[in-house]
């Protein structure tokens, strides 16, 4: 609906947030509605801003990867890995192959974990509590594996500059391999549910459509882009780490709606399991970590494909600590098209549409503008 045609007299503003049971994080969405129909959409970020980019400037490189893991608790390796890759690039370090493989194992397992978590949240948004409980139960498997590998369920911190923090012994590797079929079985099961179930189709099909042209226009990333037929995945398009060694498919769908985004993520779980299997089978021997203390000065950009899409870090390094770091998290690219997806939809469809982009605000809240010590605005 264009702005001139809108009958603003009959409009109501429906606030979602900052503290709302739908959102697990504090953010504010302003949904304008006319009756049942959404006519406009706006959002405010900044409730989650912690100034990580500033804090990291006072940390050494080994401390920085731990801190960057806390950019987001769900995909914490995405950030420490992107940072490590960047610093390694500047210093021209040849990371031991074993370290790279181990980092990839936890990174892909993290994708499975994140997608299962998201699937649960999505199912809850459409009132499908059973799937929420089932997928979080399966997610415990991945957390258990993380605990075996790194000693932590959530804060994995596997990537450090120069390799992987921990080695992977044979027994743990076998344990990981033995859990993979369970995860794939669950993904197959869910794929069946989401392709066949009529009620799910009623809630998700042709809801929140983002056509290919619009997706290109907004430059969306990750599963949201791939569900709108954009074949884009950093793991294939500009391979980092050791992704060249593996065979896997990039899942692309053409439904462009909430259902397709769900299916893309479910299928990605299976691909990730496949990558992990190849990783463990091909795992080379030798060292897994190089010692790293001082960095050369330089600047670079590094990109990784996080569970939610492209995650880019721009960094300028000093000798002992980073001089500047800019994080561009995937959700940042995926929020603007929300308006296109939401226009003319029903109020009841707002939660699944917002959830369908898998928003992660603790990743996204990056900028605060200060003028003479006074806070001017947060972006």
């Amino acid at each position: 609906m264009t702005d001139e045609k809108r009958d603003k007299k009959h409009e109501t503003i429906l606030p979602i947030g900052p503290f709302h049971p739908l959102l697990k994080e504090p953010e504010y969405f302003k949904v304008h509605v006319d009756g049942e129909k959404v006519t406009d959409f706006d959002f405010r970020l900044g409730f989650n801003h912690r100034g990580i980019e500033k804090i990291v400037e006072s940390k050494t490189y080994s401390m920085a990867t731990t801190l960057l893991g806390k950019v987001c608790g769900i995909c914490n390796q995405a950030h420490s890995l992107a940072f490590s890759i960047g610093v390694e690039k500047i210093n021209k370090i040849t990371v031991p192959k074993r370290g790279k493989y181990i980092r990839t194992i936890t990174f892909e397992l993290e994708r499975i974990q994140s997608h299962l978590l998201w699937l649960g949240v999505m199912a809850e948004a459409i009132g499908f509590e059973t799937v929420f409980m089932h997928s979080w139960r399966e997610r415990e498997r991945t957390n258990y594996l993380f605990e075996l590998m790194t000693g932590n369920r959530i804060a994995k911190e596997m990537s450090v500059v120069g390799g992987s923090k921990w080695d992977l012994d044979e027994k743990t590797g076998k344990k990981v391999l033995s859990e993979l079929p369970n995860l794939v079985k669950f993904a197959n099961n869910m794929e069946r549910v989401f392709t066949k179930d009529k009620l799910v189709h009623k809630r998700l099909k042709e809801v929140g459509v983002l056509s290919k042209e619009e997706a290109k226009h907004f430059d969306v990333v990750g599963p949201v882009a791939r569900a709108s037929s954009l074949d884009f995945d950093i793991r294939k398009n500009s391979p980092y780490e050791v992704y060249k060694d593996f065979e896997f498919n990039v899942i692309v769908g053409d439904g462009a709606d909430c259902l397709e985004r769900t299916l893309v993520r479910i299928r990605e779980i299976k691909e990730s399991a496949e990558i992990i299997r190849q990783c463990i089978e091909l795992l080379p021997g030798g060292e897994h970590r190089l010692k790293f203390f001082k960095s050369a000065e330089g600047k670079t950009t590094s990109r990784v494909e996080a569970p939610r899409g492209e995650n880019a870090h721009f960094m300028v390094t000093g000798e002992m600590n980073p001089v500047r770091l800019k994080i561009r998290a995937p959700t940042y690219a995926n929020i603007p098209p929300l308006k296109t997806m939401l226009l003319n939809q029903k109020i009841a469809d707002v939660p699944p549409i917002i959830i369908s982009i898998d928003p992660c605000f603790s990743c996204t809240d990056r900028i605060a503008v200060y003028k003479k010590g006074e806070l001017v605005k947060r972006v």
Binding site: F19, P21, K24, E25, I55, K70, W136
Partner: protein, 134 residues
């Protein structure tokens, strides 16, 4: 036979955390740990809550709103801080945009340490908080 005196209803409040503590708090409700066995339940409104689980290093931007939300909870509520962030600011204590500890802004009954604490620790903490509710 002893009866549980109270089934605590829990409201979860995120004050700008990294999500780590939040997903562990939600994991408590799901089949792996299932605090519903103990009669506890996650509710969507602070007005229904007996226990408020607070995570995160208290973002300055949302401080006023956090206070409003906590004030809405009925009398006799118990506030539980989860994670290193609520105790000292944790990794974010040097940040210009956070104002830890949580105890400065509201009466906190207990803290559960960890970054993030494991669900077992959160459940043990909740069991102790139940005693404070009596």
């Amino acid at each position: 036979m002893t009866f549980v005196k109270k089934s605590p209803w829990i409201f979860h409040l995120n004050t700008g955390s990294c999500n780590g503590c939040d997903i562990e708090a939600v994991a408590c409700v799901t089949p792996g740990f299932d605090i519903e066995r103990l009669g506890a339940k996650l509710v969507g409104s602070p007005r229904h809550a007996d226990i408020i689980l607070v995570t995160g290093p208290v973002n300055k931007h949302s401080l006023e709103r956090i206070k409003t939300v906590v004030e809405q909870a009925p009398k006799g509520k118990v506030i539980v801080g989860i994670g290193a962030c609520t105790i000292s600011g944790g990794l974010f204590k040097d940040s210009y945009n956070t104002d830890p500890p949580l105890g400065k802004h509201m009466p906190v009954t207990m803290y559960i340490p960890g970054c993030p604490p494991k669900p077992e620790a959160i459940i043990a903490g909740l069991a102790k908080a139940l005693e404070a509710l009596k």
